[in-house]
Each structure stands twice: as C-alpha cells, then as structure tokens.
C-alpha cells in the first residue's frame, strides 16, 4: 500500500512536470484558499475537501474573540479623554490627575452599596482590564521570528545556544568589573539559603584545670542524652558512670558512639562523659551520637560543620513508633483474614 501511494505520487510528479506557468505567491493570511494562475496543464490536484458547514463549526469552536491592537489603542485613548473629563468635573488639574484621584472620583460620582468591592464601578487603564495576549510571533510574510518557533517552546530550547550558558554566567561574576552585569545575572539565580548558618554553636567553656569542654544534648525515639566532651583526653567514654564497653556490649552501639570522632579524625583526643535515660539499646546509642556531634561543634571549623551536616550527623532522626490503629493488630499488620 505504501508502494502504491509512492507510485501515485511519482505519477503526479510526471503530470506536473509540464506546468511551468504557475507564478503566483501565497499570501499567508489566506492560507485556506486556492491561488491558481493559468495552469498550463490541467492538473489533478489533491484536494482536501471540507464542506462549508464544517468550516462554520470550526470557527465557532475557535474560542473567544481576541482583542486587536487597534481596539486596545482606541480604548486607551478613550480612557485618557475620560480621565480629563473626570478631572474637570472634580475641579482638579487634568495634567496631574492620578489613579487614586480617579478612584475617589468614581466612588463619589457612582456611590454603590455593594459589599463585593470587585463588583463596584471601576475605571482603570485598559492594560489592567483587558487580559494580556501573546504578541504575534511571525512577520508580515508569515515567517516566524525565532528559529525554534516550530518546537513550541522556543525560549526554553534556545537557552542552550547561549554558549554554555551557566559556565559563562559564573565566569562573568568572577571577573573584577562584574558589578555592571551582576544585577542581570542575579535574575537567573535563586538564592539557596546556606543551611549550616542555622546551627547554633555554643562557645567553649573552661574547667577549673583550664581544660576546654562542651555540652550537647540529643534525642532519639524516647531516649534523651546529655554529653560532655572534654579536650586533651585519651578517648575514655563513660555512660551513666559506667564504661561504654560494659554499658553497650553490642559492637554496633559502640560504633555509633564513635562515629562523630572518627568522622573528624579526633578519635583519641577527647574524653566523653554522658547521661542517658529512656528508650532502648540502639535508641540510647543514637541519642548519645547526636549529643556528642552537637558538643563537638564548638571545637571545629565552619567547613567541618558543613561536612558534618551533609554527613547527617547533626540531623535528629524523626522516626518514632507508629501508633496502632483500631481494627488492626498493629500499626500496619491486619488481623488474620478469614474466608468465612
């Protein structure tokens, strides 16, 4: 079937070969009509037949009438003349009559008892009343202005033709006299708030022996912990007065305790003493980890704070036990399904 279509196309071509007399030009505004000028050979033209009723239906389905440029211009002229009339009526100077003056005049001349403010009589500039329409994207001869017009999203796709857009913008801002174009470029930037500045870093406190220490608090699930991290230590950790090796027999919990120190490469340099209540084994470990991380904030630089935040050491874990629902055995588990 495709071959038949192709051969009929070729047949048409041979018919059309002899016709060299057609010399008229299509006018874009009359795209629907046929423009013929003395064809030398009667040509079997392929007509897409539409009846007049169909055409009428299409026009009706086209949508509301758009406002033309001339119509809006006339409206603006009428508005300006009306403004001057109003000014004269109110006894004010037509040259310096502002929008507020217009509003007051209208409210005075047309008092309305309506509650809905938008239903009251209003006189505004036509640009604010008539909805903005897209300017016509093509010239008089019908050729679109933008070379990517037929994609539909011309401005979006044309970004990539601005010579490695983002790299260029960054480079411009790095140059010495960038302040000239900085404003233009900042329009394309959205300021990301620097998260790390939200961390409250407590200042270091000093002991009687002039040893620096810091206190941090942490919570996880139902466990609360308070940790005191001292400087010039040798890596001793005491939990509720007991050595951490005895308090946390499981390796996983001890690893959680050590993670903040290990991340900052300060394993053997600090002493830690903490008190923890509530929760279970791993909840207490998590709470102590958060508490030590917060306590260590006072000892380190800002970049290290940012890297700790990105590692997730400073984020409290929001997970808690989900409540049980009625009609179910647990939070998610349903009762055993019986067929009968």
């Amino acid at each position: 079937m495709s071959k038949m279509a192709a051969s009929s196309g070729r047949a048409l071509k041979s018919f059309v070969q002899g016709c060299c007399g057609c010399s008229s030009v299509i006018l874009p505004s009359i795209a629907r009509n046929v423009i013929l000028q003395k064809p030398a050979v009667t040509v079997l033209a392929r007509l897409v037949c539409t009846s007049s009723t169909l055409q009428r239906k299409n026009i009706a389905a086209a949508g509301p009438e758009k406002y033309t440029q001339e119509f809006i211009k006339k409206q603006i002229e009428e508005f300006n003349i009306g403004k001057r009339h109003l000014a004269n009526m109110m006894g004010e100077d037509p040259e310096t009559f502002t929008q507020e003056g217009i509003d007051r005049a209208i409210a005075y001349l047309f008092p309305s008892g309506l509650f809905e403010k938008r239903a009251r009589p209003v006189m505004k500039h036509p640009d604010e009343i008539f909805p903005k329409q897209r300017a016509v994207q093509w010239g008089e001869d019908g050729r679109p202005f933008h070379f990517l017009f037929y994609t539909g999203k011309q401005s979006y796709y044309s970004l990539m033709h601005c010579l490695r857009f983002i790299q260029l913008l960054e480079r411009i801002l790095a140059l010495p006299y960038c302040s000239i174009e900085e404003e233009y470029i900042q329009r394309f930037r959205r300021a990301l708030e620097v998260q790390s500045k939200k961390q409250k870093i407590e200042p270091l406190q000093y002991d009687e022996n002039e040893v620096a220490f810091s206190i941090g608090e942490g919570r996880r699930k139902t466990a609360t912990a308070t940790a005191t991290v001292r400087d010039n230590g040798s890596g001793n950790i005491t939990v509720n007065g007991v050595d951490y090796l005895l308090y946390f027999p499981v390796l996983q919990d001890r690893e959680q305790l050590m993670f903040p120190f290990q991340f900052l490469d300060r394993l053997g340099k600090h002493d830690m003493e903490c008190k923890v209540t509530g929760g279970g084994r791993s909840a207490q470990a998590g709470a102590i980890r958060l508490a030590t991380a917060r306590a260590l904030l006072s000892f380190i630089t800002e970049n290290e704070v940012e890297s700790m935040r990105q590692a997730g050491l400073l984020t409290p874990d929001p997970r808690v036990k989900e409540r049980q629902k009625p009609g179910q055995e647990g939070a998610r588990r349903k009762f055993t399904w019986n067929k009968r």
Binding site: S7, R10, S24, N33, Q37, V136, Q137, R143, P144, F147
Partner: protein, 268 residues
Amino acid sequence: MAVGLLKKALPRLGLAVPAWPGVRCMTSRLYGTAAAQTQIHQPDNSVGSDKILTEPLKHPDFFRLSELFSLKDLFDARVHLGHKIGCRHRLMEQYLFGCRLEQDILDLDQTMEHLQQALNFTAHVAYRRGIILFVSRNRQFTHLIESMARDCGEYAHCRYWQGGLLTNANVQYGKGVRLPDLIVFLSTLNNVFQQHVAVRDAAKMNIPTVGIVDSNCNPSLLTYPVPGNDDSGPAVELYCKLFRMTINRAKDKRRQMEILYGLKSQND
C-alpha cells in the same frame, strides 16, 4: 517497478525540472472545495516578478549545486555505510550496493542522483522564500542542526515532537500560522527506532519532504528520499554543510535576480 521506471524516465526526458515547481502556488494545503477557489491576481504588477520566478525553472541546475559535492566527498564522510543485515528495511533494498561482513553498503551513484535532486529542490524552495524546517531526533547532532538552521535563517525542530504541531497548528500556535513549505529530515527515525511522526503528518498536510534514509528506514512517504548514513558524525556534518550552502546560494541568487530584474523593469 513503476517507481523505478518513472524515476529513470525523468532525467532522460531532459525535464530535470524539480518535480514540484509550483507546489507553493498550487497544491500546498488546499482546503477549499471548488466553490471556495478564488482567483487572486499577482501581487506585483510588473513583468519582472514573473521573470524572477520562471527563470530558474528553465535550467536543470540553475544554482550549480553539482559543484558542491562529489562522490569522493560522500565516501570520505562515510555516507555509504548502512546498518547490519538484520536491521534492513525491505524498501531500501533497491538503494543498496551490496553487503559486506553483514553490513549493508548503500549505492553512492544512486545517492548522488537523489542528493542532487533533493538539493536542487531545496534551493528552489529557498529561492521562492519558502519556510524550511530541519527535523532530526538524533540527540548527538541537535546542537549542530539548530546552529546550522539559525545561520541559514531557516527553522529547526530537533526536540520532542508534540502530536498536533502540523495537523493541529491553529490550536498549537495561533490563528493564521504559516506552516513549513519543506521539511528536511536528517534522520527519519525517532529515539525508539520508529518512523518519525512528522513524515506522516507532512504527507497528510501536503508538505513536501526531503529525507536522509538509512538502511533501516522507510523511504516511501518522503518526496525526495536520499539514501545515506544518518548516524556518523562526518556524514551529518557533510549534510549540514551542503544544506547550508544550498540555502545561502539560493537566497543570494534571489537577491541578485531581484536587483537585476528590478532594474530592468524600471528601465523599461
């Protein structure tokens, strides 16, 4: 077979005029019934405009496009390389020279003829100030093709093709939009290795198409298929260069002719 006969017959008859000389004035997007046909007189009253439009049609190669490329150029740009045997399309067998180590080789003699005709037609469309739209869904060459289109002053669409762009143009773009007068496919397949929707839509809207067909493509719906490689870098760069040069030549020629005949009609 009828197809082959007719194609061979055309150059031999000496009527190497492009197959659609008056496509823009005659059959493009005919919507009206017989009652709706209107006779509109020529926009310019002088004889000069008539001459401008008819003069190129009297010469087989008015824009001298055969100088732009040679068989050796096509060979160096690896245009003759096709896909493997398994991907071969039934209708492309006529364009194949042969097959070597399970890879299809396209016949460059046929490619030369087809490319000559296609470029000639493109030049005539550009001469008559037609809108040319370059389409390709090969992401490797999107930027190249869009830059080439921008340099020529023509249009490109190398992105996702929305359904009703040609067939539902009045809704998509606005009333009174002018559709492309020629669509050039630098690759007729889309990302899923199916035929690009635009081929079928152009046939529906009576828009002539020029397309580079590889050995896995369907050449039937295109008006001017050009068998050639659409995947290699050098090949696509060669095509871009050729199209850019033809369009620029055609536009320059148009300007020359306007000046020439404009002066003549003033003198007369």
